[in-house]
Structures are given as structure tokens and as C-alpha cells.
Amino acid sequence: MSKEKEGGQENDNENQGDQNNSKTWNLVREKLSEYISGDAFSRWFKNAELVNPGQQDGLVAVQSDMHQIWIETNYMDELRAAFAEGAGIHCSPQIVVKGDADADLLPETVVGKIPIQQESQKIAVRGARANNSVKVVIPDLEEKTQAFQRKLKRLGINPDFDFESFVVGDNSQFAHAACSAVAHQEGRSFNPLFIHGRAGLGKTHLMSAVAQQLLANDPKAKVVFLTAEHFANEFIEAVRKGNLDTFRKAYRHVDAMLIDDIQFIAGKERTQDEFFHTFNALLNSQTQVILTCDCPAPEIQTLEPRLISRFESGLTVELQPPGFETRVAILRRKMEQWKVELENNIVVHIANQIKSNVRRLEGALTRVASYSFLSPENMSIEKVDELLGDLVRDENTHLVTIEQIQKAVADYYNLNLSDMSSRRRPASIAFPRQIAMYLARKLTKLSLVDIGDGFGKRDHGTVIHACKKVKSDIESDPEVRGAVEKLNASLERRN
């Protein structure tokens, strides 16, 4: 009996595995047919297959629920003996139903849905029997089975977000490498993995890719993938219903915990507390934890210091906006995926217009490609500009304003916003004011006069002097340098 084709499996090891698998199964079947008579053997085992060799022995996939029920009730002894006598494998055979498991909840993979009620538990246990017989070992975009895709969707993971579809550039190389290592479980020391970056740069994509790879490696892995918001909501529900035990069980006894937008728990004391304990429990049991955030850990406002330090205790990687070549590469990738064709100069133009956000870049491509598809006229640069008008405006309105700079500096130095524009001269106020002016010069396109105006109608000369002074201080004083860098980064990030 030949095993189902696993579609272009190129890897030699895979083929060898398949062959071994077939051989083993044939031996088992032969022995089994000695124990179980003709009609019964053919009735129940004709289309049964051995799955997931190397990962688990004795996992047999059968064609229907009834097969599973009847075999489990009547033929397990014979099956066990057939494995032992026929193939020399000592195992506890498990029967699964081919294809999709009908269970809504699988105890192995929880996705912010906690099996609280009895009903759900019944279904969940049944799901344990009707375990996913996921046949895919390496997820390839086209090769992913329907079952795997459905499983991902159930877990809240977008099947399109995998390693294959992530375009790596200088901006994301380190983050990508770290995630890849974690996904292939080579980076035991990267725990927790803290990924930060502004919106639309690929945090969720990378984390989803890791989740997919972990699941493909081990379909029975308990991979939790959810947003911090969801975690918080579930926690509140659990407290309300008095189900904390169940909640804790669901989130602490897992193989990997992937949380998106962890900045959400800022300001939520109880959730932070619960998360702290969960986090500790996971790290202590060496469970992989991955977090994404829209800013570096120390910049999360109102986050307990003990959480900040824990977030930073593993590996922190940043996703930055992609450079020109990467943007073009991303556009080309998408065009390939969508089977869309556009002239090179158009692609380059789009890449030049949208720089800060991959999501926006894709949106731009969608617009241009759709128009090009639907319209008889040739696409032109002018048309692109017309189509992308508002997107480009969004790109540019995110220039820093003087007020933002003043606010950031005032916060940093514990001053009032009004101090920035006031006449007060003590160094504790004047120096920060100078830093603010320096940053204004650096980060905005405003003229010296405009900047001066923004700081309480000061003379443009004052601004020049401030910039020179701060510049030289940066070079001589590491403290100043650090402060300015920090402020600079956080201002750029905020946009």
C-alpha cells in the first residue's frame, strides 16, 4: 500500500522517511491481518494509514469517526501486538480521524478560548481522541493542507504569515534570524524573545511564522497565540466567573506562548500581576515565550519595572522600516503572489512614495494593481500619484511637530510644557529647552525662525546657538548623548 503523496517533497530524508514508514506499516498490517479476520480487517483497516513517523510511533489515521470508535473499543490489543510483533515497535497506538477534527476546542492548542463549561470539556476530550492528523511537516505555501490551514485559522493565525512570505531586508534581518532560530528550536537562550517595531513592519507576521513552524514541527504542540488584549479579557472573565484555576491551567501548561502587542497591558495592574506570574511559570519551565510590542520595553508607559526587566532578560530585536531595495522586493513578492504585473518604473515610484509602513505599502500596491487590472489605460506615474494621494499624505503628516518634541523633552526632564516657551533661565530649564530646539532642527523641516517662534518667540540666533551647544555636548558628554539619542528615537518611533 503506497502512502498518500505529500506533494513535491524534495527532501531526501523525507522520502527515506516515507519509505520506511510504508515498510513499517506493511509489516504491522500483515501481522494485524493474522489477528483480525478478513471481513473485519478489510472493513476497519483497509484505508488506515500510519502518520507522523519519527515524531510519534503508532499514530494511525482512519477514515471516519465510526472507524475510530470501533477500533478503539475492540482492536487496540491486536494493534499493539501487531506493532510489537510485526515491526518491533513498542508503543501505545493512537487512532485519529483523517482530515479535519470536528472538535471545536482542542486541549492541545488553546487560543484564548478556555474550556470552562462542562460541555466544552466533553468536546475538548473528544478532540483529544480525534487528534489532528496533520500531514504537513514543512509548511510550504501551496502545500499546506486544508486541515492545517483550518487549524491555523482556529488559532487566530493568518496562514499567509509564514517564513516563506516574509521578505527579509537589512531592517529585519536580525529579527528574522532570531525568529527562525526559535522556530526551529535552536535558540534555547532566546527566551523571552521580545520583538518591537512600529505598526505595519511585520511583528505579527514574524510571530505567526514562528507559530506555524512550531505547529508543523509538532502538530500536538500546545501553541498559544493571542493578543495581550485577549489575555487581559480572558483574565477578567476568569476572575469574574471564579475560574482562575482553569485560566491558569490554560496559559501555563503550554509549549509556547506568543503574545502580540504586549503594550496593551500597560496600566492594567491586575492583568500585569497575573501576567507576571504566568511569565515566570513559563520561563521556569523553559517554555518559549515571544512578545511583540510597538516600542522597546522600557518605553511602555505604566509598566511594572519587574516586567520590563523580564521582557529584556532574553533577546530583544527590532523591526525597522524597510529600505528602498527591501520595499521594492516586498512589492515584487506581492506581485508574484497576486499574479500581478506592473512596469518597473511604477513599482519603483510606489516604493519611493511609501517608506515607513509595509502595510501601507501593500495597500498602495493593491490600489494601483486593482486599478491597472480594471482600467483599459496604461498605468502612469501621474495616475499612481492620484491613486495614492491620501496614503502619501499619511506618510508625511507623521513628521514630528515642535509641540511633540517639547512635550517629550518636558516629560523626560520633569518640566512643564510651558517651561519650554518660558523666559526662565535656570540651567535645569534652559538646557532641556536647548535640547528641544536641537531636536526640532533635526527632526522637522521648519526654519530657524519658525522654531524660534515655537519656543516663545525666541530669536533664530538663539536657536542656532542652542543647536551648536547641544551638538558639542553630545560629543563630549555621554549622558547628553544618551538622552538625546533616546529622545530622538522615541520621537521617531511615535510616528
Binding site: D39, M66, I69, W70, E72, T73, N74
Partner: protein, 365 residues
């Protein structure tokens, strides 16, 4: 609320509905029976949120109203009352005063407004089924329902209305019972659903041999109207596994036996089976079958039956309870036993559309 009622009538009515109430309830009101008094008499309703039963009792109602009273305690009281006539009055605070002859009881109830209403069936499919037929069909299948709670889909009877037939199936993985009956219903009403085991029990208690039962089916609930009594139950959600897969193909041997004789013989012989050795062995020889049981520490039993058999000698063992259950539920004189070999399930059939697949046990020599 105020009414007079005969002790018998009250007791009957209460006993009709009390079995649905479980001894460990999550809500206090679920231990109570809803009593609604009107010109037409009393309506008594109980529920456990999955199954609800509602019945009637004749009474002289002088003041209409409704309340709920703890059913177990109420039944115990009514049963013990000395006189045949009972007078009940309930005040605005749901305190019931029960007078009968010299006895006086007062019990505290809960407001009727808190009682969970039984589901409505306005947009339901309706079927009319003679009570005798349904009762019979349940009898022939209910013993095979699985009690394994992890296989919740099997914790009920699969019922299908298809092509002019009503089919009921029950299985627990070791045996499967199936019965068909011809029935008239519109083809738009073809469907299937799973009746939970608890509802089946209530049905078997209430169904009679005369008249019709009305079955109403909504998306996730079923209602059985039997006379003035109503059983409402949630359906078991999920897909019933493909039961046809279980039915073996052509048999090698078909033996026709007297049902009663096989039942009696098995019953007698199984007296000598034990927990450790829980099987009876049937050995088929020329025109006879030996039914044997053997327990090492206890002893053995052996009885032979006449049967027309010309094949070669062979033995097959079955769980005696599983073998007797269908035999007890049938009324036919003769049953056919279709066998393949000692490792394959046997199939018990009758002339009617009944079928029972039973897995053998390992033959211990």
C-alpha cells in the same frame, strides 16, 4: 392559588414528572416542580435544563395561580397523607399549606417566575407517530446506548426520518442495535437527530400502547407530546458516526433459533459466568449448539439447543448480558443469528426490520 385534589391523582401526576429532577441540582429551583392551577386542572412541570417533563392532574381549582414546590419532599408528604382528599392553598409568598384529614403541612416554595420555561416549538417540524411503534422501537434499541461520557455523541439514540422510514440506532462501540419502521411524513421533513439518553428514559416511562405521539423538532430541541404530557429535550449536538460501517457483509452461516429458548438457555448458563470470566461460549456442531460458561473458581454450566446447522464445527463467545438484551426486547418467536467466524461480530436479525451487531469475546479454551 387554591385547589382540591384526590391523593391518587396528585401522586400520579407528580410521579410522572419527578424522575427528571436530579438529586444534585445547580439551581435550587430545579429541585422544584412547577404547579400551575387553572380551570382545566393542574399542570406539573419539572426540568433539569436538558430535559423537561410536563404532565397534568385532575383537580378542583377554586383559585388559579402558580408556584413551585420541592418535588421530592412533596411526593413524600403526599404519599404519607392519611385521607384520600387533599386541600392545597398557596399564599403570595409561595408558602403552601397542605391539609388532608387531620394532617396539616406547610412547605416553602419558590416563585413560579423563576422556573425556567420549556422551549417553544413554533417553527418546528411535526411528525405523528403511533405510540406503540415508537415505544417498541425504543425498547429494541435503548439498551445499547453508550454510557461512556467521553463519547457524548453516542449517549443517545440516533433517529432518522428518511424515505418513508423511521430508523433508530444505538451503539456503544461493542454492539449496535438498529430498527426501522415505515412511517408517513412529508419528504420536506426528512432529517435526523440524536435523542439524549435521559429523554429516552422519560419517553419509555410515559409512552403507552394506544394513540399517537406528536414529535416536534426544532434546530436543537425536540418535543414529544404524549396525550396531555409533554417531554422537551435538548438534542445531542454533533454528527452521529456512520453506523452502516459496522454492519458486516455476507455471513457464512445463518442459524435460526427460538428466541425464548436462546434467552432462557443463556440466562441459565450465565449464572456460572463471573466478573473475571464474563462470557458464554456457543459451540456449533451438527444440528445443535452448546451454550457454555466456565469460571475457574466457581464451576461450569452447559446446555444444548437444537438448531438446523450443517456447517463445520466452530465456537464463538459473547458477553451474556449483551446477548440477552436484544432477546429480551423482542417479541418474535424466531431470531436469525448470522455468523462469519469466531473473531467477527455476529448479527442477530428478525423477520422485521431489526438488526443487532455484537462483537465476540475472545474464546478461552
Amino acid at each position: 392559588m387554591k385547589f382540591r385534589i384526590a391523593k391518587e391523582a396528585f401522586l400520579d401526576g407528580l410521579q410522572q414528572v419527578q424522575h427528571v429532577v436530579s438529586s444534585r441540582t445547580t439551581l435550587p429551583i430545579l429541585s422544584n416542580v412547577l404547579i400551575e392551577a387553572s380551570d382545566e386542572g393542574l399542570r406539573l412541570t419539572t426540568t433539569d435544563l436538558d430535559v423537561g417533563v410536563s404532565g397534568t392532574a385532575q383537580a378542583e381549582v377554586s383559585k388559579a395561580g402558580a408556584t413551585t414546590l420541592p418535588v421530592k419532599r412533596l411526593v413524600n408528604i403526599i404519599r404519607e397523607l392519611p385521607s384520600a382528599e387533599i386541600e392545597v392553598s398557596v399564599d403570595g409568598k409561595n408558602v403552601a399549606s397542605i391539609k388532608s384529614g387531620p394532617s396539616f403541612f406547610k412547605i416553602i416554595g419558590l416563585p413560579d417566575g423563576e422556573f425556567p420555561p420549556l422551549a417553544g416549538f413554533s417553527e418546528a417540524k411535526e411528525y405523528k407517530i403511533p405510540q406503540a411503534i415508537f415505544r417498541n422501537a425504543l425498547k429494541k434499541t435503548s439498551y445499547a446506548i453508550s454510557t461512556d461520557e467521553t463519547r457524548y455523541v453516542l449517549n443517545g439514540i440516533f433517529s432518522s426520518f428518511k424515505e418513508g422510514k423511521l430508523t433508530l440506532v444505538a451503539t456503544d462501540g461493542r454492539r449496535l442495535a438498529m430498527v426501522d419502521h415505515e412511517l408517513e411524513f412529508p419528504s420536506s421533513h426528512e432529517t435526523d437527530f440524536i435523542i439524549p439518553s435521559k429523554a429516552v428514559q422519560e419517553l419509555q416511562r410515559l409512552l403507552g400502547t394506544e394513540g399517537d405521539m406528536i414529535l416536534k423538532l426544532s434546530d436543537n430541541q425536540v418535543c414529544f407530546e404524549i396525550g396531555s404530557s409533554i417531554i422537551v429535550s435538548k438534542l445531542i449536538e454533533g454528527n452521529y458516526p456512520n453506523y452502516r460501517q459496522v454492519i458486516p457483509g455476507d455471513s457464512k452461516e445463518r442459524l435460526t433459533l427460538s428466541r425464548e429458548q436462546l434467552l432462557e438457555t443463556t440466562r441459565r448458563v450465565s449464572l456460572l459466568s463471573s466478573e473475571k470470566s464474563n462470557s458464554v461460549k456457543l459451540t456449533f456442531g451438527p444440528n445443535q449448539v452448546d451454550v457454555m460458561a466456565n469460571s475457574p473458581d466457581i464451576g461450569e454450566a452447559n446446555e444444548s439447543l437444537d438448531v438446523k446447522y450443517e456447517g463445520k464445527e466452530f465456537s464463538i463467545a459473547f458477553n451474556p448480558e449483551f446477548l440477552m438484551a436484544p432477546l429480551k426486547s423482542l417479541e418474535e418467536d424466531e431470531v436469525h443469528l448470522d455468523l462469519i467466524d469466531e473473531m467477527s461480530p455476529g448479527v442477530l436479525r428478525t423477520e422485521d426490520a431489526f438488526l443487532y451487531v455484537l462483537m465476540p469475546m475472545r474464546v478461552t479454551s
